[in-house]
């Protein structure tokens, strides 16, 4: 007579119009349960049995009046009970065949009288009274229209009316509620025993598989086809006589790794049939394999490729399934505020109901609606074995407790927001999860989970991968803390604020840094309560709750749970509170939670960044009350917590921008002037994080932050030093900033910090800062004064890569100066540098090649490099896949070739080396091209090598590059061309490949280096008459005439030489004409 009943009545008669209950084992079982309940009612609950129904239950009975005995006034066609209500109306009235009954007492009697026909009577009664609860308790209790009539709802209603009967009504309502759950539970067991596929599930499955089939490696199948195009109105494709056997359709499947399979899909499951005879088109219907529960399982068993690819596609596949699943019915809330608690309870119920729905329809054999729930169905079955025992007694005890209204002190909002139903929901969910993990995770997770994870994986690429959600196994041995915490959470739920505060304080005494306790709090439903408490008006409860959340949110899983439960908006709201202590705790909690992207986004979207930035402002208002109230705290602390939260948040780009827009930079700059270490670390941390953005770097310069960063380099605190160095590293890309660091005396502390190599993080930051600072020559001079170069050289060995990259980068910059190169050589720095050329870290290779290249400028150093086979190593790096490494290696080769003793011979000794270089001219990276041109320039200085590269086709390749606007490339290209002109008929060849005209245009560039190189190239090319004509045609003479007036001597000379060649040709032509 409860919700379940009306629901079962619904599905049993669904779609038929005539309201009859099918005779099925399930229905029978339910009816029997109801009968047992009603029969025993009069003994178990004598008080409630007397309660008069609002409306009588009325139906046609087959019982004869003569069956009634004592207690009834019997006539031939009527029976009336002696028991009557206040108005004298009998509680049972039979007027053949209509019967009206108005109390449970009479119902019990009636069933007793009915004896053998009990079942039939009960069925008739329920068919005639589709919503018995309404009739019994009144329309307030309708279960038909409302999805959820939770216990709490009913209780609410009851407490509202002051009816004297309300007490009975209430207990009756609770009893019905219990029965309801009992029935649901009972029917669940039944349903899970018989899984049926139906045409729509099969169809959807096939459609989905089709989408993932086709040619290619990543599809799950090669093809999947129906054998018949005709679909009957009931969704089946099997011929009618086969439908009798429950067969739905036949498909031919071609997996990647097996022969064609002909498969029968029936309501029983999926199996291999005898195959389709090609000639007759007839199918051999006989079963040739085991029956599998569904198509996917079948195929997984038959094809290894399928299961492999399926695993890859699984997420997508499930997502699609999810979407379709949601269409037919109201989608369960996607990520409701209390995702795990509420939504899951809802969806758990939905699926349950839907399962019944499908099943019922199946039995009627009517046209079916799509439903894809067999998967979850299966899930239930799997779980049933482990669930059965615990579940039943759980329900038994849990649902017996009726809620009585509680009067809270001081109008506290009830922390008991979750209803018992939710508890049921989360319990169920929890177990489902715990059981299903480990098998095929993606398949079996609750619908909300999948949704969540899929959307995450697409958007979260940072450091924060979703850790698997380990729930405590229901049967696992639980530590004693678990039970103690469970008890405390119970008091949190059921206590007024005094008890809540005591429970919170006691909970705080557990070792909240420990996983066991953190997860225990979550697993007993404590997180929901703690978050709910934040939504109350009770300051003390909020403080207590935050103190715990702050600790347990160090756990990555808990963070996610807090976000899932909608904790962030509440936390953000608390930032507005007038209580500073609360603000602090909320900010600290946010600082912990916002360690992953989704959380950071949530903070921003709820306006948290602005509020956090506002917290930074506190420190300036020195108007602290003379006597801070009890639970209050200091402004500085508020600002510190604000900075801490911003630090976490500032790892997302959009948040950096939001902090800036909220005016955070001046505030951070102000806080940086304080001397509290606790404050400085998060402030500098935030700045350091944000300095990756150009806008911040500009602001940091403008707000004179560098000065304070430098000052704090001298602090005692290693972490602070590290963040300051890091911030300088980020900012020192800018020349002005580098100068500022020097002017504020930052170089000396940086250099001295190099001596402490224990803290690798700090060392990396410090070396990074040194690297960037040493881009300015003045800074390098300072570093040399501070003996930093020697120290850097010591760091070339036994350091982590992060440090090495920076150290080598710094050396690369320092070695631009002669003195430093000498130091490097004398300190034996070349050997370790060359050794690093064999690494694989791309950033490191770029820096190492640069440093080696810088050293090679010194002929003495070059000898060492050559001896160590450094040139060959550099040359091999031209094969590195990354263009930056290639370019950097090619640049480094230039001074090597230039300064090596027997350069030509050395270059020739690299087998295939020249061909490699020439082929790199086909690259599409400008930097690579420029560097290779430079290398070719140097290679071409040796005639023999020039001959080789000419053979490899260097001329057409260089000519092809001529049409470029990149000045760097233009310069090196022109140089390469001018050097390559020295061989054979290359001068002619350049002309033929149309390199001359573009070269003339280079003269219009603004770069003198380009001019010089171009003029030299043109000078070489102008020795060929045809080229002179081309130059003349393209207006080279006028441009070259201007160049002759240049202060650059080489340029003057080349331009003049070129003009003279052109002129000479003109004269010769004239001469020829006149003679």
């Amino acid at each position: 007579m409860g919700v379940a009943l009306t629901r079962s009545a619904q599905w049993m008669a669904a779609g038929c119009g005539t309201e009859t209950l099918e005779i099925t084992p399930l229905n029978e079982a339910i009816l029997n349960e109801i009968i047992v309940f009603v029969e025993s009612f009069i003994y178990k609950h004598p008080q409630e049995a007397k309660f008069v129904f609002v409306e009588p239950l009325e139906w046609k009975t087959s019982l004869d009046p003569s069956a009634f005995e004592s207690g009834y006034v019997v006539s031939e066609t009527t029976v009336r009970s002696e028991e009557a209500d206040k108005n004298g109306e009998p509680l049972l009235f039979l007027s053949v065949p209509q019967i009206k009954i108005r109390s449970f007492g009479q119902l019990s009697h009636f069933l007793y009288i009915a004896r053998d026909t009990k079942l039939k009577e009960a069925q008739a009664c329920l068919e005639a009274n589709r919503d018995p609860v309404v009739k019994i308790l009144g329309s307030d209790y309708s279960t038909k229209k409302g999805e959820d009539s939770s216990a709490l709802n009913i209780l609410d209603k009851i407490t509202k009316d002051d009816d004297p009967e309300s007490e009975f009504k209430m207990s009756l309502a609770t009893l019905i509620q219990q029965l309801d759950l009992h029935l649901l539970n009972h029917s669940l067991k039944h349903i899970s025993l018989e899984i049926h596929l139906n045409p729509s599930t099969v169809k959807n499955d096939i459609e989905l598989l089709k989408r993932f089939s086709g040619k290619g490696e990543h599809t799950v199948l090669e093809s999947i086809e129906y054998t018949s195009d005709y679909e009957f109105s009931n969704g089946c494709r099997a011929p009618p006589w086969r439908q009798m056997h429950g067969e739905v359709c036949y498909v031919t499947v071609k997996p990647h790794d097996a022969d064609k399979l002909c498969v029968t899909c029936s309501t029983e499951g999926v199996f291999l049939n005898g195959g389709k005879a090609e000639d007759k088109g007839e199918i051999n219907y006989e079963r040739k394999s085991e029956i599998y529960q569904d198509l996917v399982t079948f195929l997984k068993d038959k094809s290894a490729t399928f299961s492999e690819n399926m695993a890859k596609q699984e997420n997508k596949f499930n997502e699609e399934k999810q979407k379709e699943e949601k269409e037919p019915e109201e989608a369960p809330p996607k990520e409701g505020a209390a995702a795990i608690g509420k939504a899951v309870a809802g969806s758990g119920k939905n699926t349950l109901e839907k399962n019944q729905y499908t099943l019922g329809k199946n039995q009627i054999g009517k046209r079916l609606e799509p439903s894809l729930n067999w998967k979850t169905n299966v899930g239930y079955k799997d779980n049933r074995s482990s669930l059965k025992d615990t579940q039943e007694d759980k329900y038994g005890s849990r649902f017996e407790k009726p809620r009585s209204p509680v009067s809270y002190g001081r109008g506290q909002k009830s922390p008991l927001k979750d209803t018992q139903e939710e508890k049921h929901g989360s319990k169920l969910e929890k177990k489902r999860l715990s059981v299903s993990y480990g098998r095929t995770p993606a398949l079996r997770k609750g619908p909300d989970k999948i949704e969540d994870i899929v959307s995450e994986s697409s958007s979260e690429s940072e450091e924060d991968e979703e850790p698997p959600d380990h729930r405590q196994e229901a049967n696992a041995d639980l530590p004693s803390e678990y039970w103690q915490i469970q008890k405390l959470v119970k008091y949190l739920k059921g206590g007024n604020q005094t008890a809540t505060v005591i429970a919170l304080c006691s909970m705080k005494d557990f070792n909240l840094a420990q996983d066991t306790c953190q997860l225990a709090i979550r697993d007993v439903g404590g997180l929901e309560v703690l978050i709910n408490l934040l939504d109350t008006d009770e300051v003390k409860c909020k403080i207590g709750s935050l103190k715990i959340l702050k600790e347990i949110s160090h756990n990555p899983q808990i963070r996610r749970n807090i976000v899932d439960l909608g904790g962030l908006p509440i936390l953000v709201k608390i930032l507005d509170s007038s209580n500073k202590h609360l603000k602090c705790l909320a900010a600290e909690t946010i600082a912990n939670v916002a360690k992953f992207r989704r959380a950071r986004r949530a903070v921003r979207q709820h306006g948290g960044i602005t509020k956090l930035v506002a917290l930074l402002d506190c420190a300036q208002n020195s108007t602290e009350p003379p006597q801070p109230s009890l639970y209050e705290t200091r402004d500085v602390e508020v600002a510190r917590c604000g900075a801490l939260a911003l630090w976490s948040c500032s790892k997302s780009y959009a948040n950096k921008e939001a902090i800036r827009l909220a005016g955070g930079i001046p505030l951070l700059a102000r806080l940086l002037k304080t001397s509290h270490q606790n404050m400085l670390i998060p402030v500098v941390g935030t700045l350091q994080e944000c300095a990756s953005e150009a806008s911040y770097r500009a602001a940091i310069k403008a707000e004179r932050i560098i000065e304070n960063l430098v000052k704090n380099l001298n602090s005692e605190n290693e972490q602070l030093q590290e963040h300051c160095a890091m911030a300088i590293y980020q900012c020192a890309e800018d020349e002005e900033t580098r100068d500022l660091v020097r002017l504020h005396g930052g170089l000396k502390p940086l250099a001295s910090l190099l001596n402490n190599t224990d803290n690798k993080e700090r060392l990396a930051a410090v070396t990074g800062a040194i690297w960037k600072c040493s881009i300015s020559r003045e800074n390098v001079t300072k570093f040399r004064e501070y003996k930093a170069i020697e120290t850097l050289l010591e760091l070339l060995t036994d350091q982590p890569e992060e440090v090495l990259v920076n150290v080598v980068g710094a050396l690369g910059e320092c070695c631009q100066e002669h003195e430093n190169r000498v130091i490097v050589r004398k300190c034996g720095g070349i050997q370790p540098l060359v050794n690093l050329l064999v690494g694989i870290n791309q950033a490191l290779l770029v820096n190492v090649t640069k440093a080696v290249g810088a050293c090679a400028v010194e002929p003495e150093s070059m000898m060492i490099i050559d001896r160590l086979d450094g040139v060959r190593l550099l040359w091999s790096l031209l094969k590195n896949p990354h263009p930056d490494v290639k370019a950097s290696a090619a640049w480094a080769l230039c001074p090597c070739i230039e300064n090596a003793k027997d350069a030509g011979e050395m270059v020739r000794s690299f087998v295939g080396g020249l061909e490699l270089v020439v082929n790199l001219l086909k690259s599409d990276n400008k930097e690579v091209l420029a560097s290779i041109c430079a290398a070719i320039t140097n290679i071409a200085k040796d005639q023999e090598n020039l001959a080789v590269i000419t053979d490899h086709g260097v001329v057409p390749l260089l000519s092809k590059l001529a049409n470029t606007n990149n000045d760097k490339l233009r310069r090196h290209l022109a140089e390469a061309i001018s050097h390559c002109c020295m061989w054979g008929r290359n001068k002619v060849a350049f002309g033929e490949h149309k390199a001359v005209a573009p070269l003339v245009r280079y003269l219009k560039s603004n770069d003198t280096n380009v001019h010089r190189a171009t003029a030299q190239a043109l000078y070489q090319l102008s020795e060929e008459a045809d080229n002179c004509i081309t130059m003349h045609e393209n207006g080279a003479v006028k441009l070259l005439l201007d160049m002759v007036g240049s202060p650059d001597q080489d340029l003057q000379e080349a331009a003049a030489g070129c003009i003279s060649n052109i002129r000479r040709l003109a004269l010769a032509t004239e001469k020829a004409r006149y003679t």
């Binding site: 001081r410 109008g411 059921g494 206590g495 007024n496 604020q497 005094t498 304080c505 300051v539 006597q627």
Partner: protein, 213 residues
């Protein structure tokens, strides 16, 4: 009461009061006489707020609800135990209520919770004070089990010398560790919000202060 007398009274009270300045005292004195109403001053009768009137104020102004705690608060104010709060008791009590230091408040709260005044908060007293703090769950065999457990939890948390009862020293140590435990057995101090509201209204214009009693 005439003006001169009032001034003298205020003057005397200010001397003995730690946390209020003269203006505040005079505001509170005015409020006190507004609340007491115009009772002719006769020798032999005490002018002041009786238990009911005082409880009304606690309830309406400071949002307290627990009858027992309110009674204890009244006793805390009524130092001379004559069943009514006189003007000096009123000023001193409010001084603690609104401006008290942690030490003062601890002392006061301990007195409130020490129901029989023997210097210890015993298990029985705790039980008494916490008995309404949990939602009754009839399914449990012993409905008081939860409360008893809660008392044990509290004792474990606060009874530093493990003698099964709370001395002031125990209480003080526990509160210093965790300020939330100051009002461990029930709210007996005004919460910040009502306190601010009260101050804002009273110290601005005491005559307009309206109690809606």
């Amino acid at each position: 009461m005439n003006r001169k007398k009032l001034q003298k009274l205020t003057h005397n009270l200010v001397k003995n009061c730690k946390h209020f300045n003269k203006h505040e005292v005079s505001c509170l004195v005015n409020l006190f006489y507004n609340l007491v109403g115009d009772v002719a001053e006769r020798p032999g009768t005490v002018i002041g707020l009786d238990r009911n009137a005082f409880r009304n104020i606690l309830h309406m102004t400071f949002g307290m609800t627990d009858d027992m705690i309110m009674d204890r608060v009244f006793r805390g104010f009524d130092k001379d135990n004559d069943g009514c709060v006189s003007v000096s008791e009123w000023i001193n009590g409010l001084s603690l209520f609104l401006r008290g230091t942690l030490e003062e408040k601890m002392k006061y709260c301990f007195e409130v919770f020490d129901l029989n005044g023997d210097g210890f908060i015993s298990k029985e007293e705790m039980f008494h004070m916490l008995k309404n703090s949990l939602l009754k769950q009839p399914s449990e065999e012993d409905p008081d089990e939860g409360i008893k457990d809660l008392v044990e939890i509290t004792l474990k948390k606060m009874d530093c010398d493990h003698d099964g009862k709370l001395s002031f020293a125990d209480y003080e140590q526990a509160v210093r560790e965790e300020t939330l435990l100051l009002e461990a057995f029930g709210p007996c101090l005004p919460d910040t919000e009502s306190q601010m509201e009260f101050e804002a209204q009273v110290f601005k214009n005491p005559h307009e202060f309206n109690y809606d009693v």
